[in-house]
Amino acid sequence: MNNSIRVNCTKKNLKQIRDFVSEYLGQLALSDILVNQIVLAVDEICANLIIHANHEDPTKYIYLTITEPKNAVQFEITDNGLAFKSTDYKEPDLHEYVRMGKKGGVGIALVKRIMDKVEFTSKDGANACLLYKKIK
């Protein structure tokens, strides 16, 4: 089964990424809720890369590769945009967000809560995000 996909940086392509991940996970006999959570985590990272790291520039690309380490599923998402600064990350205070009418800022929190491992690395202008989830 094909385990990698490349899409250019427009938000419309998020659907294509989700369909690709859903189809791949379909062969692993996971619950609907778990499949949805994993698809969501990958979608959140890709949305951040497309919107924030690459400013929705359709001439730029992101790459996703799925692998299956023992009893787990792993996603590597790479791009050449602006690097994610994990030091800037703060746990969202939802009551504060509601008070402020804040629209964004809960995506990475979802990813961190869903996945068992979330790593960001950058080297020579290339960035990689690694998402790891135990499935057994």
Binding site: N36, Q37, I51, V98, K102, K103, G107, L110
Partner: protein
């Protein structure tokens, strides 16, 4: 994402059909930002055909909550699929928003 509105007196029933992601949630934001909506005091959101929600969709609801609360407009979600409800629960949003099982329950809570 397709959004349809059904108006009954002071209540809007908003039906969401499709997926709310970073791309499609803009449409929802436009609907909820419409000043017309402030004329009603109950917004019931039918989520039966909402198959997916990402942080962008959640963010739209979060960003309007205070405005509705200040205007004493009740926002109630019903018929939500389990996998979608799970996403609200991961963040604890189910404690900040009103999510009920079905239409009857939504109406009852809206009238309280």
């Amino acid at each position: 994402m397709k959004i349809t509105q059904d108006i009954k007196d002071s209540t809007i029933i908003m039906t969401l059909d499709g997926e709310l992601d970073a791309s499609s949630s803009v449409i929802l934001d436009e609907e909820l930002s419409d000043p017309e909506i402030m004329k009603y005091n109950k917004i019931l959101v039918d989520c039966r055909s909402l198959n997916y929600i990402s942080s962008a969709g959640l963010g739209v609801f979060i960003s309007h909550l205070q405005r509705f609360e200040d205007a004493q407009i009740k926002l109630i979600f019903f018929n939500m699929q389990e996998k979608v409800r799970n996403v609200f629960e991961i963040l604890g949003l189910d404690l900040l928003m009103t999510i009920v099982t079905n239409y009857e329950e939504a109406i009852t809570i809206a009238d309280e």
